[in-house]
Symmetry: C2
Subunit: 389 residues, 2 copies
């Protein structure tokens, strides 16, 4: 029996459109073949979300081929055949002997494929930031007549403007994030352990909502008193108490697409300082949203937030957000003073206003948003408040 | 108020012992300062498990300093102060302006620290495999009088032999993995969705067992009919049916330490082919375990498994296992024919007998084990059978 293809998340035309954008950039740079290695970029161009990126794998996009070729470990080829929109003949499993082999690894299989496909003297693009220096050197030494060129974060930048189909998935992911945060509001109580609460919240993020399941577990942070100054701790071996503050950052995931959300909880009345900080952040959030529209820059958004927060006597040192999409952060545009990126319709950002001021004061609020034709759409339906329990 | 230190998972003496082993290797190679960047290696040397490794961070181990220095993003410094055994003065938060900054990033902060600490003309070790070529070039160009030397996977190799304290955590993690697998046996039923089952299983892995919570969610794969030939899919948008086969790979986690476990489930009677494959794999598993003892090689274990499985008419192409510990796989020894690594007491492995033979036949069974003074200890208490539901 042949394994059936998975129900495709997007029609082939959507992937071919994305590939066309990548190829246009390849053409502009006179690159004949591109080796895409970032798992999020591979997902973007093919629909593949299996977790095989801990060993070498590469999607070869050739200027003259309609569909790309995926070179992956033999063990992972069936998942690629199943999930990717490309023809099964374009999934090449390399031998398991290349795993944990100091002499020859999966990169050799990728280079072999390039050489066999006639790119020995071509300009070959690679995502240098995702390759170790030894791997890059292997490309150079095994294809000495080729020119190995850095394609950098180009595919990530192309991902920046979403299609309406992608936006639909991000809205579904945001509804899941909301459901998770509402579950947090139900289960966080004095004497409940942080792990038990996390179990309930994460289970909700997997079950999903409105008939749409979560398709993966994204990074999850729960930083409760006395750890509210920390940003990236999963949860601690501790329980909640009267007076506890809890900062949560979570996300819903739909086929790789991630919508993130942060909120702050307080068991009992929040302190005056926390309330003042919340007021400043919430006002800053509104000020930032008021600036989001096509033509404004990412820097403008950050400036609007910072100036408003400053009026409340607080400062946020970290950037106010970043582009978001497949696998959470896109390493491209940031809501950061001076970031010149010009906003376009269907760019999506995590307006991330988590603020860790000192060891006694940390606070979390955020919105995942889309730039619309005229302004902004925030995906979450939750109120922008400290959830008092 | 100053944030309290977390309850330390290990006494300082344990971390100093680990650091002494690293320093001995530094001394042997005439390296004065080592920049550790692998998150698992940083966890090993300090106790830090927060999820901040998506931006530059480095633990500087200096031959002449008892405690290392951690250079991390300002936002993540409190978590490091909280979790790491080192004095808080040794956690250095670099400015948020270095995030999403094309001109200067966290690596510059790490290099600045090395230069300020007097290593401008020293031999400096780095983990090249964890650095992009541009970052490595930055080390070379900003410290031109220093010699930048590759420390490779040396710290990973030192991690290979566990202390009894580490083994205790891995046993706890294994008990959690067992609880998760037993929860799978309870919840997998016809018409239940894969996501709902995953939610229950993962919630159990977080809640833990015997009063020990799971401290993190490790990678989780659930590959059910018709996807049993895939190895690394989280779960699909599908439900179980009479006749479904389900291959699960999961892990319990205690403070980074990971014990993995695979089992195969069948709703109704397994097919004859699957039963024959199971018999071969289970016999191979016993044969492999019989070989594990100090002095045997990793290759010997693989050979024993392969020869036994072959008698049943099957072959497994992928390696039969790998070293396991913090963050799952250690990139060092493998149960692979010809691997010369000599087994020593308290080495731990995931004897991973997942076997994806063709699109119609995949099967999963595994044990996480410890080499003992005389043989082997497997951590799981579960039977080695196909769980028929």
């Amino acid at each position: 029996m042949t394994m059936p293809k998975a129900l495709q998340v997007f029609p082939s035309s959507e992937y071919l459109r994305r590939l066309a954008a990548v190829k246009a950039e390849m053409e502009r740079r006179d690159i004949s073949a591109l080796v895409v290695v970032s798992p999020a970029n591979i997902a973007y161009l093919t629909g593949y979300t299996a977790k095989s990126g801990y060993v070498p794998q590469g999607l070869i996009v050739a200027l003259n081929d309609e569909e790309p070729t995926f070179i992956t470990r033999r063990m992972d080829a069936p998942a690629a055949v199943h999930q990717m929109f490309i023809d099964r003949s374009r999934v090449v499993g390399y031998p398991e002997a290349l795993i944990a082999n100091p002499d020859k690894d999966g990169w050799d299989a990728i280079i072999d494929n390039l050489l066999d496909a006639g790119f020995a003297k071509a300009n070959i693009g690679v995502e240098e930031q995702s390759l170790s220096s030894k791997t890059l050197e292997k490309f150079r030494s095994r294809a000495p007549a080729a020119k190995i060129l850095d394609f950098g974060n180009t595919v990530c930048w192309i991902r920046g403007v979403k299609s309406d189909l992608e936006i639909a998935l991000m809205r579904e992911a945001a509804a899941i994030a909301d459901a998770g945060m509402l579950r947090a509001r139900e289960v966080i109580r004095p004497d409940v352990s942080e792990a038990d609460a996390a179990a309930e919240i994460i289970a909700q993020l997997i079950r999903g909502t409105d008939g749409k399941q979560g398709t993966d577990v994204a990074s999850f942070t729960l930083c409760a008193s006395p750890r509210t100054s920390t940003a990236h701790i999963s949860w601690a071996d501790d329980h909640f108490r009267h007076g506890s503050q809890i900062n949560i950052e979570l996300a819903g995931v739909r086929h790789g697409y991630t919508s993130a959300l942060m909120r702050t909880f307080s068991i009992g009345k929040p302190s005056d300082t926390l309330r003042r900080l919340h007021e400043g952040e919430a006002a800053g959030l509104e000020a930032a949203l008021a600036v989001v529209k096509p033509g404004a820059t990412c820097g403008d958004v950050a400036t609007a937030f910072n100036e408003t927060l400053g009026k409340f006597g607080f400062e946020k040192q970290s950037r106010c957000g970043y582009a978001i999409g497949i696998d959470w952060t896109e390493p491209t545009a940031s809501f950061k003073v001076g970031d010149p990126t010009i906003l376009k319709p269907n760019m999506t950002f995590h307006l991330m206003l988590g603020n860790w001021i000192d060891e006694d004061l940390g606070y979390a609020i955020s919105e995942t948003l889309r730039v619309t034709d005229a302004g902004v759409e925030t995906f979450s339906a939750l109120p922008r408040e400290i959830f008092q329990l």
